[in-house]
Symmetry: C2
Subunit: 330 residues, 2 copies
């Protein structure tokens, strides 16, 4: 544990660096601590020894290390309350009765992205642990129907599918009935396997255009369940304007990762509370921090996250996420 002055000093250095992005020298902070630059240097050397600060080169000022940020977040920083104006803006969205919850969350996170100038992400939970509750089909026109899948946890996916002229609505209805009788309760991920091994062998008895109808459903399920697009970014490139992202390679590499569905779904938070992943821990880039939290509302889960530079206004962002999490969970 650090002494009082050391705590104070680390806090000042981290916050100064967050503000200016420049290494912090001993002189610039002696006023705040009522001591000479030499004293500051001695303390700085100690903080560097124990791994909380780093130098960019032998004669440079100090920069917080990942450990330093961690200590700052865990011990020195207090989440910042939102301003009245911010609360107001968010309330108009959150209290809109006719917005579906997930839309309200997405909209609020859009606002937060604007307020902070970082990137926000809303990530619906993967539906792979959901079970099939019901399938419905709504005929739309002569050659298309909408298939709707409903899961036990309240997920609804729907997809318009084209139908081939020699398929009758009646036959589709029969297929739906079969599925609803035999596959309800199946894990979403396994529906297609069962479709293949349990339904396919027997549909010949009930349905003429077996092959076509089978394929139609198989494809529709495939698309709906493999659809990992269950996320929504806002301000995707906001934070890249920070000076640490000054090389084209770095920008490309980060943008690439944020385009990659694998990477995005790995952002899903499983722990509780608000979690901070600093630098390499973010799995995006050593200069990136992700702050995220899981929310649970009547069985429906999701992750909300803010992505920004490691040099992020932790207090502000954590404050906002706490607020949003609180609001949506009640």
């Amino acid at each position: 544990m650090l002494g009082k002055r050391q705590n104070e000093m680390l806090k000042i250095i981290v916050e100064e660096y967050i503000k200016t992005a420049k290494p912090v020298g001993s002189k610039s902070i002696c006023d705040n601590l009522n001591c000479s630059s030499a004293t500051v240097r001695n303390e700085m050397a100690y903080l560097e020894d124990i791994g909380y600060l780093e130098k960019t080169h032998t004669s440079s000022g100090r920069v917080p290390s990942e450990l330093g940020y961690r200590y700052y977040v865990d011990n020195l920083m207090k989440p910042k309350e939102l301003t009245g104006e911010e609360v107001l803006t968010l309330q108009t969205i959150l209290s809109n009765q006719s917005l579906e919850l997930s839309d309200a969350i997405t909209k609020s996170m859009e606002i937060i992205s604007e307020l902070t100038n970082y990137t926000s992400l809303v990530l619906g939970s993967s539906i792979s642990d959901n079970r099939l509750k019901k399938v419905e089909v709504v005929p739309i026109s002569d050659n298309s129907v909408i298939a709707i899948i409903i899961t036990d946890k309240g997920h609804i996916e729907n997809k318009t599918i084209a139908i081939n002229e020699n398929i009758s609505v009646e036959e589709i209805r029969k297929m739906v009935e079969l599925i609803n009788n035999l596959l309800v309760g199946t894990l979403i991920d396994e529906v297609n396997k069962k479709l293949e091994f349990e339904i396919k062998p027997i549909i010949g008895k009930y349905i003429k255009q077996q092959e076509a109808i089978y394929n139609m459903f198989y494809n529709a399920f495939n698309e709906m369940t493999s659809k990992k697009d269950n996320y929504h970014f806002s301000g995707k490139t906001n934070f890249l304007k920070a000076p640490e992202f000054d090389s084209a390679d770095k920008v490309r590499s980060i943008v690439d990762k944020l385009e990659d569905k694998e990477v995005i779904s790995s952002i899903e938070e499983t722990g509780s509370g608000i979690n901070v992943y600093i630098g390499d821990e973010s799995k995006i880039d050593s200069d990136v921090t992700i702050i995220k939290t899981k929310y649970v509302v009547d069985g429906e889960e999701g992750t909300i996250a803010i992505i920004g530079p490691k040099r992020m206004k932790y207090d502000k962002v954590i404050g906002m996420l706490e607020y949003i999490k609180g609001e949506i969970e009640k």
Copy 2:
């Protein structure tokens, strides 16, 4: 019109530059033209005079100007046929019966993005000139329904909406009936205006929870019709790996534009045929080219586009777009 050798030369220079990204010097191409570097220099000076070539500095090799690319595309280049393998890959997608057309297009453009290493974009036409054909509502659970809008041109939009406990399905049904009686044929963009001025004043007679139901539909229409998200990118950052995108600012600025819905919807092509927008004409960046074409299939329109560096393999890309356009329009 240029002479034979000048044509040949411009072609060589453009193609060489496309391959290497380095300004082309006189020496490097005299072999191809069977003449000395001095002769090449004379001709080059002429091509520069008439605006087809440029120098990056007084003693550098030549680089095609925008006009030069244009001349190349219009007069010197021949669209390249696809390889057998490429045709095969695309056919498996395009001939899949149970894929809705728009999905098939999206998938083929994904493939093309991979084959070319550029970015592909499928942009559904804006639905603002569509007219309302029918509204349907499917109850899903106790507190949600799916609203489906169908337009005269075959567009289908659907959205899950939350319902407030004191709204009965019966009342929603009445509202739908009202809409279907009074608003069919209205331009999508004007539906909400009519909803407000023609439906709202009279629903009191038929429906108890007027306010709530009205809001519910108003919001749903809003979301569905203002949804400009009717596009699909693939390989969004592919082409940014080219050496001309070497500054962080440039990369950011382009990525920003590709995130901007305004910019994207402005990519919609209105002309016929395959059109090439070189450099500044692309409206994205002076180093970017967009090649695009409109497709029309039973009244449904859309744009497919390839976005890449100005130094793009025009022959390959145009060949591919011609192929795809031909396939989907038949």
